[in-house]
């Protein structure tokens, strides 16, 4: 064991230390971000495809992110119908969004941003299967 006065941390140790910090930070960001996107395996809906032929998309599941706009209608059995504005290709595109009654607890307001997993239902509306705030 050398004398006390000779004990000093080497610059290499500091470099390794900061590299480890950056690596851990990066790994954390990677894993938690992955974990924070619950619909990452679901295809993103392109509004153009929907506008072009919504019927052809019936039964398909997509993810979509946008802002609640106007309330278009309400039925106790079917749920709430909204216009939902999605940014795509630099444009703001409205889509019809049906929120089934099982989500009635959620206080939906104009301007709220949501990330949704939707299914194109038999009426060619985007019916929400899962939703979380963006």
């Amino acid at each position: 064991m050398s004398r006390r006065a000779h004990r000093k941390p080497s610059p290499a140790l500091w470099l390794a230390f900061f590299a480890a910090f950056s690596l851990l930070g990066g790994l954390g960001a990677f894993f938690f971000q992955k974990d924070g996107d619950p619909y990452r395996t679901v295809e993103r809906l392109k509004p153009e495809d929907y506008y072009e032929n919504a019927n052809s998309l019936k039964g398909n599941t997509y993810q979509v992110e946008g802002t609640i706009a106007n309330s278009l209608g309400w039925s106790q059995e079917k749920g709430r119908l909204f216009s939902f504005r999605v940014q795509h290709g630099g444009r703001d595109r409205p889509l019809p969004l049906l929120i089934p009654p099982r989500f009635r607890e959620i206080n939906l307001q104009k301007g709220q941003k949501y990330r949704l997993k939707v299914r194109v239902n038999d009426a060619a509306l985007l019916e929400v299967e899962e939703m979380s705030k963006a």
């Binding site: 064991m1 006390r4 910090f21 954390g28 924070g36 216009s83």
Partner: protein
């Protein structure tokens, strides 16, 4: 009683029924200490050989290297050439064990707010293992030995200079060291106190196998020492009996020696001493006496083994807690911050958070009404989101300030004592764990009270624990980063300034007020604790309209709760690792 004779590095000692060979306990051979930036070495070609049971003085004019030599022997300063041997062992290969070395520096190592007995008890408990009863008995014995028994309940801060030096010596005796080094412990004392301390040290040197070396300016009481070592300009000019001192230099009195030294180059004095035709030996009687006492050495009741990590940690923690409550200014300041900071936050929401008026969602309303709605909503959004986001960031910044106040002086404020205690065997990890224990209490109280108070007055919605977590983590992270700063700076002012900058940059770089350019944001945000705490806190409002409004107005992306907690934990660990290495490094001044 017996006979002794010196042959080279050895003493041959003969008793009527036994013959023994005793070697010098301390040997310095061609010792040199140079600084990279300095042309002249601080110490050069020092050859010194001293036996056990010996009381030696190191004297010389100011700046001659007396204290430097003592620190080099202690291992505080790294010698650049030569060897130091203790009891035949090369110290470069195996350093002095903490219990072997007693080092009394020029400054006081006692905590002024603790009593004499408490200082001694804590010193003993940090340096050696033993039951509470054994430690108490040892402390009483040392008090009696050093004449401190009548002062045992007096605080160190009110002791006189002589009493304080006595306490410093007593603290070193808790491990009964065999090498006892005292640096200028008689400086500034009146002649009576100086004589008392000198006599005390002389008495300590008569313990078996112990070598006591005292660096002193004073040339009084030189006859009390077994040897006098004279240094000049980092060179050894003389080392022998006090009776030979004046004769060697051709002086009538010791006071004439310093002017004589100044008349010649230090190298000449060094060469003259090396080529001195007659090696002046030490008193044979002292060596014989040492052997005799060694043979009848009594066993002490308390083991000189270092206490374990846990024991040192709990001792350090207990003393820190006691010091905190013994310092009214510190306790009042902490209490004031604890009460005032949350109160300041609630000034902005003393009546609770405002209600959010929602926009009409019906497409049937006319365009003018829709436009008016949108305008009202935008105006309200700006106000409420600024309030909610601002209150969150305000709490974070104030907690960060408390964190910086907690730790900025924690290491550097008592650095000298910490260095001394490390030399005496305190593990850096134990000191750090003790600090973590103490600071954790502050962090929990500060973040807990801030969360509860602001939440109650501002009527914040959301989960209580989820809101407490980012606040506790950011306080802990900033506290630990400031502890790191404290352990790497050389003054309290530097540490305070560094910690203040750390907190000051949090607000602008968090993006909570003004969004940073995208690339800069990605580079900077990982390092900004306030950003992660702010994001983590706002995520707890996710199910409320407040979150929507903040999201609608703030351009800075909000991180999720998990990644926020992860990054704050990394900051906390980063600070603690920096603090560990900072505490571990040698920083004697």
């Amino acid at each position: 009683m017996g006979f002794s004779s010196r042959i080279g590095d050895f003493f041959v000692v003969a008793f009527p029924a036994d013959v023994r060979i005793l070697w010098d306990v301390l040997s310095l051979d061609s010792l040199e200490l140079s600084l990279p930036a300095s042309e002249r070495p601080l110490l050069s070609d020092i050859n010194l050989h001293l036996p056990g049971g010996h009381f030696g003085a190191i004297v010389g004019p100011s700046g001659c290297g007396k204290s430097t030599l003592l620190k080099t022997i202690a291992g505080i300063l790294p010698h650049t050439a030569g060897t130091i041997r203790w009891d035949g062992r090369n110290l470069d290969e195996r350093d002095l064990a903490p219990h072997e070395l007693g080092y009394v520096p020029q400054f006081t190592c006692a905590q002024p707010r603790l009593t004499v007995r408490e200082n001694l008890a804590y010193a003993a408990r940090l340096r050696r293992s033993g039951s509470a009863a054994e430690i108490a008995e040892l402390v009483e014995q040392i008090e009696a030995e050093t004449g401190l028994a009548d002062l045992h309940d007096r605080r160190a801060g009110v002791l006189s200079g002589g009493q304080l030096r006595r306490l410093g010596l007593a603290m070193e005796l808790t491990t009964s060291p065999s090498l006892f080094l005292a640096d200028e412990v008689t400086s500034g004392l009146d002649p009576k106190s100086e004589e008392e301390i000198t006599l005390l040290l002389q008495g300590l040197a008569r313990q078996p196998g112990r070598l006591v070396l005292l660096v002193t300016h004073s040339l009084r009481f030189l006859d009390r020492y077994d040897s006098i070592t004279v240094l000049t300009g980092g060179r050894l000019a003389f080392c022998s009996r006090p009776t030979d001192l004046c004769g060697y230099f051709g002086a009538n009195s010791p006071e004439e020696i310093y002017p004589l030294l100044a008349q010649r180059d230090p190298a000449n004095w060094g060469e003259e001493w090396v080529s001195s035709p007659e090696e002046l030996g030490f008193e044979a009687e002292a060596v014989v006496e040492e052997i005799a006492t060694e043979m009848t050495r009594p066993e002490t009741g308390v083991s000189a083994q270092l206490p374990g990590l846990v024991s040192q940690t709990t001792t350090w923690f207990g003393r820190r807690l006691k010091l905190f409550f013994r310092d009214p200014a510190q306790a009042v300041l902490q209490l004031a911050l604890l009460l005032v900071f949350p109160a300041v936050v609630t000034l902005f929401a003393w009546n609770g958070l405002p209600n959010v008026k929602n926009m009409t969602m019906s497409p049937a309303t006319n365009a003018f009404q829709q436009l008016k709605d949108a305008l009202d909503f935008t105006s309200q959004s700006a106000k409420i989101s600024t309030l909610v986001s601002g209150l969150a960031m305000f709490q974070v910044i104030l907690l960060a300030l408390m964190g910086s106040n907690n730790a900025a002086r924690e290491v550097v404020g008592d650095r000298a004592i910490l260095e001394k205690e490390k030399l005496a065997g305190l593990r850096p990890a134990a000191a750090l764990l003790g600090m973590i224990g103490f600071l954790s209490l502050l962090v929990l109280v500060q973040s807990g009270w801030m969360t509860l108070f602001v939440r109650a007055v501002g009527q914040f919605p959301g989960d209580l624990f989820a809101q407490f977590l980012p606040f506790a983590l950011v306080t802990a992270a900033v506290t630990s980063l400031c502890l790191g700063i404290s352990s790497w700076t050389s003054s309290s002012e530097q540490a305070s300034l560094g910690s203040l900058y750390l907190v000051g940059f949090q607000l602008p770089l968090s993006g909570a007020i003004l969004a940073l350019p995208e690339v800069l944001g990605w580079v900077v945000r990982p390092w900004i604790s306030a950003y992660w705490a702010w994001s983590g806190y706002l995520q707890t409002l996710r199910d409320t309209r407040f979150y929507d409004l903040v999201r609608a107005v703030t351009e800075t992306p909000l991180a999720g709760s998990e990644i926020s907690a992860w990054m704050l934990t990394l900051h906390l660990v980063l600070g603690l690792i920096c603090a560990f290495f900072g505490i571990r490094r040698s920083d004697w001044r």
